[in-house]
Amino acid sequence: MSRRDWLRAMRRELAETSGRARLSWLLGIAWVAAVGLIPFAVAAGVVVGVVGGTFGNHEVFLEVERSGSDSWIGALVLTVPTAIVGLVAAALVVSRRRAGLAAAYAFAALVAVCAVLSVTNSPPVRAFMDDWQRVTTDPRAADHAWERRFNSAIGASLAAVALVLVARRQRSTRPPA
């Protein structure tokens, strides 16, 4: 039975209520509706974060690539699989597939690796960001490089944790196979 059916069932009971009980019942409907939207909100956050954080930074990759350096390849190899796994995990969680939890854990593991490499400015992130600071026309390149590394690490980590929590909750409510 879909959540929409359950909400319809709750609305049908409204006729039985009156006064404060009616208000309480309406709040309950709103709560159940809001809880049902959480997986979609988290998945949307992951998609927006992945698209915005990874594919939205394409100009950084292009600037480094145009300079003749190949350090962008290492950064791309690090980020693109993580982004793809994130999108797949978000889709699996929203569709309540059994593989959603495993995909969410895989996404979290990849994000953890990326975040550590990014925050500690380790290879291949270091070479990539150093090359970008050398070739970019951005006058505050050093600050922006640090912001990109730190913000993307924190944002992706939060998104991955949220996705794992949602997937775990779905798993706990699913009947045994």
Partner: protein, 106 residues
């Protein structure tokens, strides 16, 4: 492997109430009244019980206004009996002492 979780007090209250007459269909509002649970707590529990195969939920179409009715499945009845043996029956709450709309863990 699936963990065998203990039922929350609210879930036990719902199971116990449904088990009082397992052959009788119950309405959501009736269950809320009997258990003292707010709808925001009751319905997530009903959803989880239905997902786990412990509860049968269907539309009652005989009435002018279709309503959802609930009853325990055989698995639900067995689970309730197991809970009753393992854990003491939860205290019944009056409507005024109803818990908030916070979600309970099934």
């Amino acid at each position: 492997m699936r963990r065998n979780r203990k039922h929350s007090e609210q879930t036990r209250a719902v199971l116990t109430e449904l088990a009082t007459d397992p052959s009788h269909d119950r309405y959501g509002y009736e269950l809320a009244q009997a258990t003292g649970l707010a709808s925001g707590t009751l319905y997530p529990i009903l959803m989880r019980l239905e997902e786990r195969g412990l509860l049968e939920a269907r539309w009652e179409l005989s009435d002018r206004r279709p309503r959802h009715v609930y009853r325990l499945t055989a698995a639900g009845l067995a689970a309730t009996e197991a809970v009753s043996e393992a854990e003491p029956e939860p205290p019944r709450r009056s409507r005024s002492a109803a818990p908030s709309g916070r979600q309970a863990t099934a």
